[in-house]
C-alpha cells in the first residue's frame, strides 16, 4: 500500500484524462463489515477523484478514530494519509493545510468522532473556513466500540440495547452552517447518484466543505426502530438531485429556471440542482436552515447541497498567507542571518 503498482492495471480498463484507471484510485482491502455504508462512501470518493482527474499524490487524507476513520486506508492508496487521534483530525488537517495550501485535503470522520469528542475542533475548523472536504460518515452510533448511541442519534430512535434515545440530536449540517462552513451538503451512502457529484462539488469548493453522509452501521444500528437504518433513511430522505459540470464542459442549460438552478463554483465548474422547495436559497444561511427545518417538520430529511457561499475567504485569505506553500520556503528565504542579529543585540543594550 506504499505506492500504486502499475502492474495491477487492467489493459482495457477505461482511463481518465491523466491516463489513470479507476483502480489507480482504489485503496487497500476493506476490513469493515460486509454491507457497511462506509465502504460505499469510499467507493464514491474513488469515483469522484477518478472523474475529476485528480492526481492521487496531490491529495492528503486525514481522519480520526473509528470504523469511518479507518476508511482512508481503503481509497486512494497513492495519497499520503494521517489517521490521527479520536476527534482531533480537524486540527491536524489545519496544520497540514497551513504547511502546504496546494494539496487537496479530504477528511473522513464519524458522527462520534465529529459530534462528540471532536465537536470543538470540528466547529472551529468550519469557523476558520479551512479549505478542505470534511466527510462525516454518520451512522448514529459508535461502530468500532460496538454500537453505543452517538450525539447524532435522533430523538426517539431505539438502539441495539432497546433503549429509546431522549436527547436532542446534533445536526452536524445545521451546526456547520451556523458556525461558518461555506459548503454544506447532506447525502446517503446508498445514493451514489447524488453522493458522487456532491463530493465532486465539495472537492471543487474553496473553503470548508462539510458533507453529512448518512451511512448505516449494518452491525449495530440497522435494526427496526433505528432512524439511521437503510430502510428508515430511505423512507425519510427528500432527495435534491444534482449533477456536477466540470470546468471545461460546455454549459448548455440556462440560468435558474423554476426549481432548477445552477451554481457556478469558484473554480469555474458548475453544480446543477433540482430543488423541490423553490424558497430554498442555497446561498443564504437562514434560508438553508429554514429549508432543513421545513422538511424536518414533515418528518423528512433533505439531502443534497444545502448551503454554499461561493466566494468566501478561506483560512489562508484571512491570514494573508503568501501564495507559495510555506513548506517550500528555503533556508535562505527564512533565516535572517547574523547581520540582523547584530541589530537585535544593539537594540537590547
Amino acid at each position: 500500500m506504499t505506492y500504486i503498482k502499475p502492474a495491477f492495471r487492467h489493459p482495457k480498463a477505461p482511463v481518465n484524462d491523466l491516463g489513470w484507471t479507476r483502480q489507480d484510485y482504489e485503496g487497500g482491502l476493506s476490513t469493515l463489515c460486509a454491507g457497511c455504508g462506509h465502504d460505499s462512501i469510499s467507493a464514491a470518493i474513488v469515483d469522484a477523484c477518478f472523474q475529476l482527474n485528480i492526481e492521487p499524490h496531490r491529495v492528503a487524507k486525514l481522519s480520526g478514530i473509528g470504523c469511518s476513520s479507518k476508511t482512508p486506508a481503503y481509497f486512494l492508496s497513492g495519497s499520503h494519509s494521517f489517521n490521527s487521534v479520536h476527534g482531533r483530525m480537524p486540527s491536524v488537517a489545519t496544520g497540514a493545510n497551513l504547511a502546504n495550501r496546494d494539496l487537496i485535503y479530504i477528511g473522513v470522520s464519524g458522527d462520534g468522532d465529529t459530534a462528540s469528542i471532536g465537536l470543538g475542533q470540528f466547529a472551529h475548523g468550519a469557523r476558520r473556513n479551512l479549505n478542505m472536504t470534511y466527510i462525516v460518515e454518520n451512522n448514529g452510533c459508535y461502530g468500532l466500540t460496538k454500537g453505543q448511541d452517538s450525539a447524532t442519534m435522533d430523538t426517539g430512535s431505539v438502539n441495539k440495547k432497546g433503549d429509546r434515545n431522549l436527547s436532542t440530536p446534533m445536526d452536524v449540517a445545521r451546526l456547520a452552517i451556523e458556525v461558518g462552513a461555506t459548503f454544506v451538503g447532506r447525502s446517503f451512502s446508498g445514493d451514489k447518484e447524488q453522493l458522487v457529484p456532491l463530493i465532486k462539488a465539495a472537492l471543487s469548493h474553496r473553503g470548508f466543505a462539510l458533507l453529512d453522509v448518512i451511512s448505516p452501521c449494518v452491525t449495530f444500528n440497522n435494526h427496526q426502530g433505528s432512524s439511521k437504518s437503510y430502510e428508515h433513511f430511505r423512507s425519510v430522505k427528500e432527495v435534491m438531485p444534482l449533477d456536477f459540470v466540470p470546468v471545461r464542459e460546455e454549459i448548455t442549460a440556462s440560468y435558474a429556471s423554476g426549481t432548477t438552478c445552477e451554481v457556478r463554483m469558484h473554480d469555474g465548474s458548475m453544480v446543477r440542482l433540482h430543488k423541490q422547495d423553490s424558497d430554498h436559497d442555497i446561498e443564504d444561511r437562514q434560508s438553508a436552515l429554514q429549508a432543513i427545518a421545513h422538511y424536518e417538520s414533515q418528518g423528512k430529511v433533505l439531502t443534497g447541497l444545502l448551503y454554499i457561499d461561493r466566494d468566501s475567504e478561506e483560512l489562508h485569505d484571512q491570514l494573508g498567507t503568501a501564495r507559495r506553500p510555506l513548506n517550500t520556503l528555503t533556508e535562505q528565504e527564512l533565516c535572517p542571518g547574523s547581520k540582523f542579529l547584530d541589530s537585535i543585540n544593539a537594540g537590547l543594550r
Partner: protein
C-alpha cells in the same frame, strides 16, 4: 543602627499596584543601571490579575554579576499602601524604606533598625498635574527621578531611555523628563545624595560576565527569535501565562522579517487555536507536511497535549513545544515560577513514552536551543520540549549577545524527496531502520506521483506502515524507538561541567534558572571551605557526561525548583546511578525564583547537620514574598 554601606551590590524592590504604569518606569530604572555598565537583574513579581492588586519589582544590583535572586531587600520603594506592612518587614536591618510621605507614616510601620526616606509623591503630582491619569502615571516617573539622585544614577542615561521609550510619541518625551527632574531635584534638595547604598559608574568586567558586551532580554523573546532563525513558518498556540509572549514576539518579528516584499503577503502563519489540544494537533499536522511548526504553553497546556504528544512519539512526527513552566499543580499560581513539569513532560502520555527535553538557562540559550530544537525534532522525528520557566521567560536577563553562525545549515533530517524516491529501486519502508540508528526515512505528502505515499497512524504498524497486531512487529517497533532514544543522547546539547578549585567528591546538579543562584551558592560555600563540582544539565536523555559526573562524585546535590525532586527522579530512572542516596534533593517551590542564600543554607545544613531544613521553616526566616 548604621545605614548599610554598599556600592554596586544591593537589592532594591518596588512595591506597586498593578495596572498603574509602574512597569515601564521601573524598567527604565533597571535599564539605566545596566547602561552604567553595572550588572543588574530585575524581576517582576506580579499577581494573576489585571488591575488593582499588589505587584513587586525586585532589582538586584551585583558588582560580581550574580544574576540569580540573592534574598533580602536593602532598599524598599513602597508606592502601595495595601502591602506596606509586609514591605516594611521585608527590609534588611540597616536598609532604606522609601515611601510617599504626603500623608505621615502610621507609627506601626516604624522600625528603628532601618532608615526612612519620605518623598511627597502624591503632593507633587497634585501640584503639578490636573488629570487623574497623569497623576497616577507620573508618580512612577518622579520616584525614579528621585532614585537617580539618591543612588547616583547617570541622569543623562535616564533622559536617553525616555527618548528611546517614546520613539514615535515624541510629544511625551518632555513631560516625562520633566517628571524625572521633579523627583531628582526634590531628592537633591532634601537628602544628602547619594545614600550609603549607591551606584558608581566605570565598572570593570565582572567576575561572571565574560566582558560587558551584554544585552538585556527576556527568554520568551529570545525563544521566539530562535523560532524565526530556525525557519519556523507555522505557530499554533493558545494563550496562557507565562508563555503568551513567546508567540507575541514571534508575531512581531515575523511582521518585520517575513512579509513577501512583492505581494505584501505573509511567509508564515500564526493561528490562535481553540485550545491546547488543537494547537498541538496543528503543530503535528504542519510538521507532518514538511513545515517547521511549534507551539508554546505552560503546565495546564502540557497536560492537555499529552495524548497528542504520545501520538507524535509513536507515529514519529516532529514537533517543537516550548513549555514556560509556572507553579502547579492545576491552575496553581499562574504568575509564579517553578520547574515542576519535568516528569509530566519527560513521560507525557500513556503507554511507554519518553520525550526529548532541553533546559535553557539564559536568553542566549532560549535562542540557540530553540534553533537546535527544530533540527532535533526533524532529525529524531519526535517532539522536542523546551523547558523554560516564568522567571527566565518573562523577566529581562543580562545575557551575552545572541550569536548565529551564517555557515550553519538546517538539518531537515531523513526525508526522501522526489528525486530520491525516483532513484529508489527497493520498496519504501517508512519505519525501516535502514541506518541502524533507529531513525527511519520519511516523505512529505505530494512528494512523488507514484512513490513514497504511506499511512501515518497512532496504531501499531509494520516497517511498511501497514496496520498490524502482530506482537513481534510491535516489539520491533518499540525497540527501535528505544534505539532512537539512544541515538538522541549523541545529538542533544551536552551538560556544562564546572569544577571546584580543589578536588572534591561533592557534586551539584541543576538546570535552567536554578543555575545562577546555584553557582552563587557554590561560591558562598567555597569561601566557607566547602568545595563542590557542578554540572548544569542542558538536555534529556542524559548522555555519558552525566553518567560520568554521577560516577565520580559520592554526594550529589540535585537542586531544583519543585516539591518532588522531579529531576532527581529522572536521574534515578534514566542514569545508572548505583546508589540512590548519592542524589540529595535540594528543593525550593514557593513560586519565587530560588535564592543563592536558600541553596547555600540547605547544602550547608546537610553537610553540617546532615539534614536539609524543611522549606516551610526556612520560609519564615526568609523575607516575605508576594
Amino acid at each position: 543602627m548604621q545605614p548599610k554601606q554598599a556600592i554596586n551590590d544591593f537589592v532594591i524592590k518596588f512595591a506597586n499596584v498593578n495596572g498603574t504604569g509602574s512597569a515601564s518606569a521601573n524598567g527604565m530604572f533597571a535599564k539605566a543601571i545596566f547602561r552604567m555598565g553595572i550588572p543588574v537583574s530585575p524581576r517582576n513579581i506580579f499577581p494573576s490579575n489585571i488591575q488593582g492588586m499588589p505587584t513587586w519589582y525586585e532589582v538586584r544590583v551585583s558588582q560580581d554579576g550574580y544574576l540569580g535572586r540573592r534574598g533580602g531587600t536593602d532598599i524598599m520603594v513602597c508606592v502601595n499602601p495595601q502591602s506596606m506592612a509586609q514591605d516594611v518587614a521585608g527590609v534588611e536591618p540597616g536598609g532604606y524604606f522609601v515611601y510617599d510621605n504626603t500623608k505621615p507614616l502610621e507609627p506601626r510601620f516604624l522600625r528603628d533598625d532601618i532608615h526612612y526616606i519620605g518623598l511627597p509623591l502624591t503632593e507633587i503630582c497634585l501640584r503639578e498635574y490636573t488629570d487623574a491619569r497623569q497623576r497616577l502615571l507620573f508618580k512612577n516617573v518622579i520616584y525614579v527621578g528621585a532614585l537617580a539622585a539618591l543612588l547616583n544614577i547617570d541622569f543623562t542615561l535616564l533622559k536617553d531611555l525616555v527618548s528611546d521609550q517614546f520613539k514615535g510619541k515624541e510629544r511625551l518625551i518632555t513631560p516625562n523628563i520633566y517628571a524625572l527632574e521633579l523627583g531628582y531635584q526634590h531628592a537633591q534638595a532634601n537628602f544628602s545624595c547619594p545614600l550609603s547604598i549607591h551606584l558608581e559608574r566605570g565598572h570593570k568586567a565582572a567576575k561572571h560576565i565574560e566582558d560587558f558586551d551584554n544585552i538585556l532580554m527576556d527568554g520568551n523573546t529570545a525563544a521566539a527569535l530562535g523560532a524565526v532563525y530556525a525557519g519556523a513558518t507555522v505557530a499554533a498556540w493558545y494563550p496562557i501565562t507565562p508563555s503568551t509572549s513567546v508567540v507575541d514576539a514571534f508575531d512581531t518579528y515575523c511582521r518585520r522579517l517575513r512579509i513577501d516584499p512583492g505581494t505584501g503577503k505573509k511567509n508564515y502563519a500564526i493561528v490562535q487555536a481553540e485550545d491546547e489540544l488543537s494547537a498541538m494537533g496543528m503543530v503535528i499536522g504542519a510538521n507532518w507536511n514538511g513545515a517547521r511548526a511549534f507551539t508554546a504553553t505552560s503546565g495546564p497546556g502540557v497536560s492537555l497535549m499529552s495524548e497528542f504528544l504520545g501520538l507524535a512519539y509513536f507515529a514519529e512526527v516532529p514537533a517543537v513545544l516550548i513549555d514556560v513552566q509556572r507553579a502547579g499543580p492545576s491552575t496553581g499560581m499562574p504568575t509564579r515560577t517553578q520547574q515542576s513539569d519535568i516528569l509530566a513532560a519527560a513521560y507525557a502520555s500513556h503507554g511507554d513514552t519518553k520525550h526529548v527535553l532541553l533546559f535553557p538557562a539564559t536568553p542566549a540559550e532560549c535562542f540557540s536551543m530553540t534553533v537546535e530544537a527544530f533540527d532535533l525534532a526533524e532529525r529524531l522525528q519526535t517532539p522536542i520540549i523546551i523547558m523554560s520557566d516564568l522567571d527566565l521567560g518573562m523577566n529581562e536577563w543580562m545575557s551575552p549577545p545572541l550569536e548565529f553562525d551564517d555557515s550553519y545549515r538546517y538539518d531537515r533530517g531523513k526525508v526522501l524527496d522526489a528525486d530520491a524516491l525516483e532513484a529508489m529501486t527497493e520498496r519504501f519502508g517508512r519505519y525501516l531502520d535502514v541506518d541502524g540508528d533507529g531513525i527511519p526515512y520519511r516523505t512529505y505528502p505530494g512528494a512523488h506521483p507514484s512513490k513514497g505515499a504511506y499511512f501515518t497512524r497512532g496504531t501499531s504498524r509494520d516497517e511498511y506502515a501497514a496496520y498490524t497486531e502482530d506482537g513481534q512487529a510491535y516489539v520491533r517497533n518499540m525497540d527501535r524507538l528505544l534505539k532512537k532514544f539512544e541515538t538522541a543522547k549523541q545529538l542533544v546539547p551536552e551538560p556544562k561541567l564546572k569544577e571546584a578549585e580543589m578536588e572534591t567528591r561533592n557534586g551539584a546538579v541543576f538546570f535552567g534558572t536554578t543555575a545562577s543562584p546555584a553557582y552563587e551558592a557554590i561560591e558562598i560555600l567555597e569561601k566557607e571551605g566547602i568545595c563542590i563540582d557542578t554540572l548544569r544539565i542542558r538536555s534529556f536523555p542524559f548522555n555519558e557526561d552525566v553518567e560520568q559526573f554521577i560516577r565520580e562524585h559520592d554526594r550529589i546535590f540535585v537542586i531544583e525548583q519543585n516539591r518532588d525532586g522531579q529531576m532527581r527522579r529522572l536521574l534515578l530512572n534514566e542514569t545508572s546511578v548505583p546508589v540512590k542516596d548519592r542524589l540529595i534533593p535540594i528543593l525550593e517551590y514557593d513560586g519565587l525564583p530560588v535564592t543563592a542564600r536558600k541553596i547555600a543554607g540547605m547544602i550547608r545544613n546537610f553537610i553540617t547537620l546532615g539534614n536539609v531544613t524543611p522549606i516551610t521553616r526556612r520560609a519564615q526566616a526568609e523575607e516575605i514574598s508576594a
